[in-house]
Symmetry: C2
């Protein structure tokens, strides 16, 4: 049995670093959701986390462990999504420069939000590239090397995985043992951390991942026993548009995750509407994955106590309005 | 100095009745909101309350004090809004019939929600009337008399007012003393209860009410020193489309409320967008009134610690989508 990238102690240590820095997000319940599923669902609301998603946990946990030299040079991240904003905010809180490499055509709201999180931190900047003609990895790696900056990837990093696991740690600390835990899967950082935390705190728990139907690479990988690469999937769950699990996350998923469920984009929209109408929350499509598996019947949960990670709420208001009106 | 309809002890007693029945809703903060106002804002999120609004507090507090005879006959309420749903739910929880009188053309979602809250409670029903040809008060009073049911009005009732005051009680218990409290004003039940609670717990606090520009009857009433009646105002804040304050609520407002501010519908929409985008919350137009006064500059709050009651989140998804997209 190979050693996994993270153990429970790493998650407990991450929780210590994040205390009074990350929000201890609320765990909410819904009678309507319980009636529909016949279960008792506990929604861990990471859409209310700082910068609007669980990603802050992993980014901060990673950056907080930089050496003084690393802090001086700063951090670099490639992302047009929540990881970019998480790194920008964590870097500013820790007083280090951040270089975020984003495509030129990223949504203006995301560029503005990232700039907002960097504000007041000398040396921080956004590097825009043309995703049709330029190789972001090459650009980023060259600059990182020139400036001595440390690259923090969005999921395949032990400190990132350990940070994400604090979401499940807090959840189960609050609810007590659960029968089932549902977690969305992109590159696998969140589910890897959460599965390690959950199995320690509730050894009988069954952990299921949830992917978009169009991008079930992890489901395929588990079936094959090795990491499967797919084309970038077409789904509204932009946080799960990953092409493959990570070299560090996949072994954890193999060890601790019972199965991967899938849901359609239509089911994500139905769940987004449910959250808005009944729980008065804005949840981004990726954040609806785990809940959609429960509410739209991808798994029978009758009689169970179930944890559901609601991973984030960062969604373009225009797109969100369109989905609500649909 | 005339005796007011409620005292702090009534609110404390209501809090006892509501313990483990109403949700202790979260108090949330937003760095963006604080930066914009120069204040520290504490949002009391009654949009997360049971049935989606603070109204549950007052309805339950009133119904819980029924005599055994009153319970057997049940409760009647006239409302197409949150009060109807609050009474329906509180009645079911207390095991008594409810008769809710609603216009035939009320939104189907509100009818369905009210039926849902009544479900399983024998003797409960919705009575539909034609608001263009029938007099709901006459219908309702006749049936109430025939069946011996007790009418619970939406705001002008001491037990309702005391229940609503528990929102401010919980807020200040959590935040400690505040400089200012902002509360939306319809018929005045919420602000009356909250002002009494706030003045007891934080005697230096300044309480301001917030009305829609188009429906500033309470502002006019304070200026005149008597209850002014207006035409039903045209505003998206449907919970504040009241024509006048109550005989019981107005004296409390006169005693404890420093002033009434007003905001426009456009400012309510801007605030609804702020809540969705930055705080990931669905807030109905009326629920945006108090926050709009702070965020849209109706009052200078620099350097202050400010409580803001977010009163509810029950909004038709189609209309909400339209406002977000606007």
């Amino acid at each position: 049995m190979n050693e996994l990238a993270i153990a429970f102690d790493d998650i407990r240590a991450a929780a210590g670093r994040l205390a009074d820095i990350a929000l201890r997000t609320p765990v909410r319940c819904s009678r309507v959701a319980d009636d529909r599923t016949g279960a008792q669902l506990y929604f861990k609301c990471e859409n209310f986390q700082r910068m609007g998603a669980f990603k802050f946990r992993g980014a901060y946990n990673a950056l907080a462990q930089f050496t003084p030299e690393q802090r001086r040079a700063g951090v670099i991240a490639f992302s047009s999504g929540n990881h970019a904003q998480a790194v920008a905010l964590a870097a500013r809180l820790l007083g280090m420069p951040s270089l975020i490499v984003m495509p030129k055509d990223a949504p203006p709201a995301k560029l503005a939000a990232t700039r907002g999180y960097q504000a007041g931190q000398p040396g921080s900047e956004i590097l825009l590239y043309d995703r049709y003609t330029e190789d972001r990895e090459a650009i980023g790696r060259r600059i990182a090397a020139e400036r001595g900056m440390t690259l923090i990837p969005p999921y395949d990093h032990a400190h990132v995985m350990a940070g994400q696991g604090t979401a499940a740690l807090e959840l189960i600390q609050e609810t007590g043992p659960l029968d089932t835990l549902l977690v969305c899967v992109g590159g696998g950082g969140l589910i890897a951390g959460c599965a390690v935390a959950a199995k320690q705190l509730a050894p009988e728990i069954v952990v299921h991942g949830v992917e978009p139907e169009a991008g079930n690479d992890t489901q395929q990988s588990l079936a094959r026993g090795e990491i499967v690469h797919i084309e970038t999937p077409k789904t509204i769950a932009d946080g799960a548009q990953t092409q493959h699990s990570g070299a560090l996350t996949f072994p954890v998923i193999q060890r601790h995750v019972a199965s991967i469920l899938t849901v359609s984009d239509a089911q994500l929209v139905a769940t987004m509407r449910f959250f808005a109408e009944r729980m008065k929350m804005v949840v981004e499509p990726t954040g609806c994955l785990a809940a959609a598996a429960a509410l739209e019947g991808a798994i029978d949960l009758r009689g169970q106590r179930v944890g559901v990670i609601v991973s984030g709420g960062n969604v373009d208001l225009g797109a969100f309005a369109g989905w609500l009106a649909s």
